[in-house]
């Protein structure tokens, strides 16, 4: 068992070393209040593509620029013509007509608004470029649809009314495939757990702490994995949609539940697997929400989901192996493990879960 543990951990460490450079790139975001992301869809049989333009900025600031003053009833939608007039996407120097799509408030970014517009690109073109007079000194990324979110390196910084560097349409309208793309998706899923998903990490640790045998742990992890894969798939394909304001607090409650159960019992109850499965369904909705927030869409969604899910599983495996390794290192006799490791750790996880439950319910 020890040899298996060491080999497993060594394998995961190696994987982390391979993934880490890519994941660091993946975690970068533009450090600007206003930024633009333009995705170019693959051409259909008629040779037409759709460009999706996402403009994120401070809502109040935008209204001030469009209206000159802000009244309580002012909305961006009502000022759509003035907005569209200030944006320009050009195909071979010819401006494309823009259509306003949805206007949303990005989660976790108070005061910000995300405006999505679209443009149809018909016929063969050479280059695409972009400009706007709305912002001065802002980043814009132009990329193929269905790819990973842009990193800091993918953005070009522009001034007011400054044209972006013309981008080859051919390179934008083809979807990247191959092992490199798959590896990036796995890295994305992995980093969503380690280090980006502390709540999921604590949940997995909670499962680990009560599992006295490897078989028990594997059963729980498998139930959890199966459940979150189901809801991740259903949510990502649009069959299920639950607001994050409901999912996130419930995830926190699930963490607290598992940890509190660890404190109250010394063995796995017959209901534990069912409960873990149910909580897994919940966590899957959380993963889907994160995937949606990253803006991944397009024809490669199934591949994206599979790659992301594999990354999530590897992340969970890392957490379990790391925890097992730490347990081995700590010089505590087995009989005292519950008193000096399981109980304190479970108590800490329970406190964290309850704190998040309150925070996500009342303060978000």
């Amino acid at each position: 068992m020890t040899r298996l543990l060491h080999r497993g951990l060594a394998g995961v460490v190696l994987l982390v070393c391979l993934i880490a450079p890519g994941s660091a790139r993946l975690l970068a975001h533009p450090s600007a209040t206003s930024f633009v992301v333009i995705e170019i869809g693959a051409a259909d049989v008629a040779g037409k593509s759709t460009a999706s333009i996402s403009v994120t900025t401070d809502a109040q600031s935008l209204l001030l620029k469009l209206r000159g003053a802000v009244n309580r009833d002012d909305t961006i939608a009502a000022n759509a013509p003035a907005l569209i007039d200030r944006l320009e996407l050009a195909a071979d120097s010819i401006s494309l007509p823009l259509t306003l799509g949805r206007i949303t408030a990005p989660a976790g970014k108070p005061g910000q608004v995300q405006i999505v517009l679209s443009a149809t690109i018909a016929g063969p073109i050479q280059h695409l470029s972009w400009r706007t007079s709305l912002f001065s000194g802002y980043p814009v990324a132009i990329r193929p649809a269905g790819t990973l979110p842009p990193t800091a390196d993918d953005y070009e910084w522009l001034g007011a009314d400054e044209w972006s560097t013309p981008r080859s349409f051919q390179s934008l309208s083809s979807v990247p495939r191959g092992w490199r793309h798959a590896f990036s998706l796995i890295a994305l899923g992995f980093t969503h757990i380690v280090p980006g998903g502390l709540d999921h990490v604590l949940f997995v640790l909670g499962l680990f702490l009560l599992a006295s045998r490897t078989r028990t742990l594997l059963l729980q992890i498998s139930a959890f994995t199966l459940a979150h894969s189901v809801t991740l798939g259903l949510a990502a394909l649009g069959f299920v949609s639950v607001p994050a304001s409901i999912v996130e607090p419930l995830i926190a409650v699930s963490i607290a539940y598992i940890a509190i159960e660890n404190l109250m019992t010394t063995s796995i109850s017959k209901w534990r697997l069912a409960i873990v499965f149910a909580f897994g369904l919940l966590h899957g909705l959380g993963f889907a929400g994160a995937l949606a927030q990253l803006g991944i869409s397009g024809t490669d969604l199934p591949i994206t989901m599979v790659g992301f899910n594999v990354g999530v599983e590897l992340g969970q495996l890392t957490v379990v192996l790391a925890a097992a390794f730490v347990m081995r290192l700590v010089p505590v006799a087995s009989v005292n493990r519950r008193r000096y490791l399981t109980n304190p750790a479970s108590a800490a996880i329970a406190v964290m879960g309850l704190f998040w439950a309150v925070e996500r319910t009342w303060f978000n």
């Binding site: 600007a32 401070d58 600031s61 935008l62 620029k65 000159g68 003053a69 000194g137 910084w157 001034g159």
Partner: protein, 407 residues
């Protein structure tokens, strides 16, 4: 003979190998800053040319750190004269890439500190400057960057000490300008003026942008003391040195407005307003329009200034002052929130002043008095600061009198 030849060959190869490794260990020559006698000049055309040339060099050789440093220098200068904050972000990216392949490249770290400072990432700028100081103790430039950052954070003692050190190491244009500002902050305007003139005289003739900047700063001091003719002369010199420099253009407009010539002031601002104007330009145009009775246009300019301070070039203290002055309860509440958040980040006198004014407008007089004391702690004679502090002090005195009469 054959043995001797082989031995000679081995010794030669060893010697060449050692000399190569010595060359590899020698640090590269630092890039001269733009405007220095041996470096490209800083007129608008030369800055744009430097930018294009360095971008081309980096496109051909992405690891060319010298090109990255020079590009960053050009971009920072251009950011100052075009109000395009994206240029600083480009400069940062170029330097970070250069440091990724050459982590010990000193002049890249040095320039990065200046870039972070321009982005208002003051703590990061201090960290970078201190890293440079560990590599080289006696580089005046890094003491200047650290001092500027500490000043913005409100650590005036630390800032003044850094400026002293800077001028001890190298008494030049940059150090004189900083000590001038330190004097200004402490209310010594004649002293500040004298030092700025020394800074101007010490500026390289090759550095048109810095010459314009110094003339504009001198003009601003003359304007603050009511010497309109002297101010007009300095702003004209600034505009002559670097045509269209925003500080020069705005300064000339301020003088015209102060001389009771608002129409000409507005016309002067037209080139700036047509481009990507700074919030200060928009506020000046709003004030001038209001003076002409064109209230709707003035409100629009104020709205655009607010938009800039909210997102394009965030200035929470200025935003808080504007919101507090609006008179609307919801906006005053927002002013307090914005000012408090910024004061938690930096405790300079201007942020303290914004906080004091927001508190005052929100009816929180004791808090306003406390913040106002912090705003006046350096002895600055800034007119806006003093007017607001006076208003708060008067209100506090009246409140004290009112309490006395109730007893």
């Amino acid at each position: 003979m054959r043995t001797f030849g082989a031995l000679a060959l081995v010794i030669s190869m060893a010697t060449v190998g050692c000399s190569q490794s010595t060359v590899a260990r020698r640090p590269p020559a630092p890039v001269e800053p733009l405007g220095a006698p041996a470096a490209p000049g800083t007129s608008r055309e030369l800055l744009e040319r430097t930018r294009k040339d360095m971008e081309a060099r980096l496109a051909a050789q992405p690891k060319d750190a010298a090109a990255a440093v020079r590009l960053a220098d050009a971009l920072l200068r251009l950011a100052r004269v075009t109000n395009n904050g994206g240029l600083a972000a480009k400069a940062e990216r170029a330097l970070v890439k250069a440091l990724a392949s050459d982590p010990d490249r000193y002049d890249a770290h040095r320039m990065l500190g200046a870039v972070l400072l321009s982005q208002h990432r003051f703590r990061d700028a201090i960290r970078e400057a201190e890293r440079c100081q560990q590599m080289r103790q006696n580089d005046a430039f890094t003491w200047g960057v650290a001092g500027d950052a500490r000043l913005e954070l409100g650590d005036y003692d630390g800032a003044f000490a850094a400026f002293d050190r800077m001028s001890t190491i190298r008494p030049d244009s940059a150090s004189y300008a900083r000590i001038a500002y330190a004097r200004e902050l402490q209310g010594d305007l004649p002293g500040a003026l004298r030092l700025l003139k020394m800074a101007l005289e010490a500026t390289s003739p090759n550095d048109a942008e810095a010459i314009a900047w110094h003339h504009a700063q001198i003009g601003a001091l003359h304007l603050a003391e009511g010497r309109l003719v002297d101010a007009a002369r300095e702003f004209s010199h600034a505009d002559y040195s670097f045509p269209g420099h925003p500080f020069a253009v705005e300064g000339r407009a301020r003088v015209l407005a102060a001389q009771g010539r608002p129409g000409e002031a507005l016309k002067t601002l037209d080139p700036l307003l047509a481009g990507s104007p700074a919030a200060s330009t928009l506020v000046l145009s709003a004030e001038t329009l209001r003076g002409l009775g064109r209230l709707e246009e003035a409100a629009r300019q104020d709205a655009l200034a607010e938009a800039v301070w909210r997102s394009d070039a965030p200035e929470p203290a200025r935003l808080a002052l504007m919101l507090a002055g609006s008179g609307a309860a919801a906006r005053i509440d927002e002013a307090v929130r914005v000012a408090q958040a910024e004061f938690a980040n930096r405790r300079d006198i201007f942020t303290a002043d914004a906080l004091a004014w927001a508190f005052f407008k929100a009816g929180r007089l004791p808090d306003a008095v406390e913040a106002s004391a912090l705003a006046m702690r350096t002895g600055s004679v800034d007119r806006g600061l003093r007017e607001r502090a006076r208003a708060i002090a008067l209100a506090a005195t009246a409140a004290g009198l009112a309490q006395g009469s109730r007893r």
